[in-house]
Symmetry: C2
Subunit: 308 residues, 2 copies
């Protein structure tokens, strides 16, 4: 039997990471490449679970690490810190991604497709077009869900014309009302009630490295920032414990209001000055309101990174 | 006036680096993107000059460095060590390449197209197909020349089915006999007579970094290894001077016989053991014959890198 090639998105997978790995597998098969199998690097979040339930499909199998020489295809990430344990010794055959490239390297040439779009699934949508493959209803809903999630229903500043065009076409194939479906899906993801504070600060946390500085930007979506802030004290305890455990210079926890497109940031560590400089704000009680800031990739990361 | 976006290949440009930048500019224009302009990071070599003379076109303008914030598109390389001075502060909009990815990073998302093919121009050829653009005779000869150069007329182990398919189709469009044209072109590049030894060891030299180790693999093509070896003593002086100047652990100078597809390697520095281990050879008088070795990317670099 042919050896399996693993496809996976980043740790703490979001909807794009899960959907892109499932779609990548389906697309590979249409191209006659049958050995790739979608995997995931963590718990399925509630927003993604809504999508899987809607389609009556199972989540990809979870893996913790890969063995030396394991062949892998990355989607929705490239930085090793966000990838599977053992990635340095794996053989990366392809990357399909929409993020900056950093802390990534290979020993040999590979397929790498990055485009500065709002969502990995928009790139995959264009790949279907290039190869002339038809898109099934299931594939359309997987890709549409990822685009809705990453662009907050096309309202995030990461949204490009390519994402809009893809979502319009996917809506037709899916035969659903994207506004209605999307809002239900996003709301499902904002149900934070049964997470502990330690889980909340890790739910969608990404770790970055700048020179010798390590920092984390974590984000949760909500329809009521106030509700989340009621737990600030315990959230800070959880953040400080992460700072200690990982030797971080900064932990930024971002609570994003998906209805009004604002965020409240809580920043701890000895480099919170980077957050203040990045957004020209003064932290009070460790936090500040960031007006019209919703995107980690386009707004939070580049501005904080610049000031680290 | 719109600001110019520079397109360029690697330092010490070979035929693929020059041709790919010229073709990338032409392809961008066909896509309605008029602000990109081909540049080059060094002297045009004799093989490439043969191509430019054949087509009666000028080489791209030479640049030494770029200013902070300059927008650039890289072809045929990604490693910063092989790129223009100032690349760390430039804004990289796109990369089109067929090498491993290493020592490369961006602050923001970008277009990145890598495929593990023998030549960058084969990737560009497929891009014409994707966009449905016609290929002119001039574009066909530029791309064919790069493929012939990088794959030594499809004989290098880097050659893929994609390169073969592209060259077959480009031959038809170009309306020339590829075997005849290609051999003339390759031979033009082996005329090393009027280069000093210092020039020879730098002609097609690429610098790499592994952990704290820096090493250079330089390569020249010839139809007579013996002729080049007559200059071994002076070549070694030039290599030692590079080792001192750049603080290298290893300088490998590879003389490749393009007719018989073998190479002779001269290795100096305190890590020549990496070469011996890489190819299971014993260096005598600082050199060894590497049977059927012709490719830096596929044979020399991965094997030496592994043993550094």
């Amino acid at each position: 039997m042919e050896k399996e090639v693993f496809i996976f998105g980043h740790k703490k997978p979001d909807t794009d990471s899960i959907c892109a790995s499932l779609v990548r597998e389906r697309l590979d098969k249409k191209n006659g490449w049958n050995c790739t199998v979608a995997k995931r690097l963590g718990k399925v979040n509630k927003e993604t679970q809504y999508v899987l339930n809607y389609l009556h499909i199972e989540a990809p199998e979870m893996i913790d690490e890969v063995e030396e020489g394991q062949e892998v295809c990355l989607v929705d990430h490239n930085e090793f810190k966000q990838s599977v344990e053992g990635i340095e010794k794996a053989k990366i055959l392809s990357v399909t991604d929409h993020h900056r490239i950093a802390n990534f390297e290979t020993a040999e040439p590979l397929y790498y497709t990055a485009k500065p779009y709002g969502c990995t699934c928009t790139i995959l949508f264009e790949e279907y077009k290039t190869f002339g493959h038809e898109i099934s209803k299931e594939e359309a809903i997987l890709m549409a869900s990822a685009i809705i999630s990453d662009t907050l229903l096309l309202k995030s500043p990461t949204t490009t014309e390519h994402d809009k065009k893809a979502l319009t076409e996917l809506e037709k194939i899916a035969g659903i009302n994207i506004e209605e479906y999307g809002l239900e899906m996003l709301k499902a993801g904002t149900d934070l009630g049964d997470f502990s504070e330690a889980e909340l600060v890790n739910l969608d946390a990404k770790e970055f490295e700048k020179d010798e500085n390590r920092f984390v930007i974590a984000q949760v979506n909500t329809v009521s920032i106030e509700d989340v802030l009621k737990r600030q004290e315990d959230l800070e305890k959880a953040m400080n414990s992460e700072i200690e455990k990982k030797g971080l210079q900064l932990f930024a926890f971002v609570i994003t209001d998906i209805l009004n497109s604002n965020s409240e940031i809580i920043a701890l560590g000895n480099r919170t000055d980077a957050v203040e400089k990045a957004f020209d704000v003064k932290l009070e009680n460790h936090r500040a309101l960031l007006k019209n800031v919703v995107s980690r990739k386009k707004q939070l990361l580049p501005n904080i990174d610049k000031n680290m």
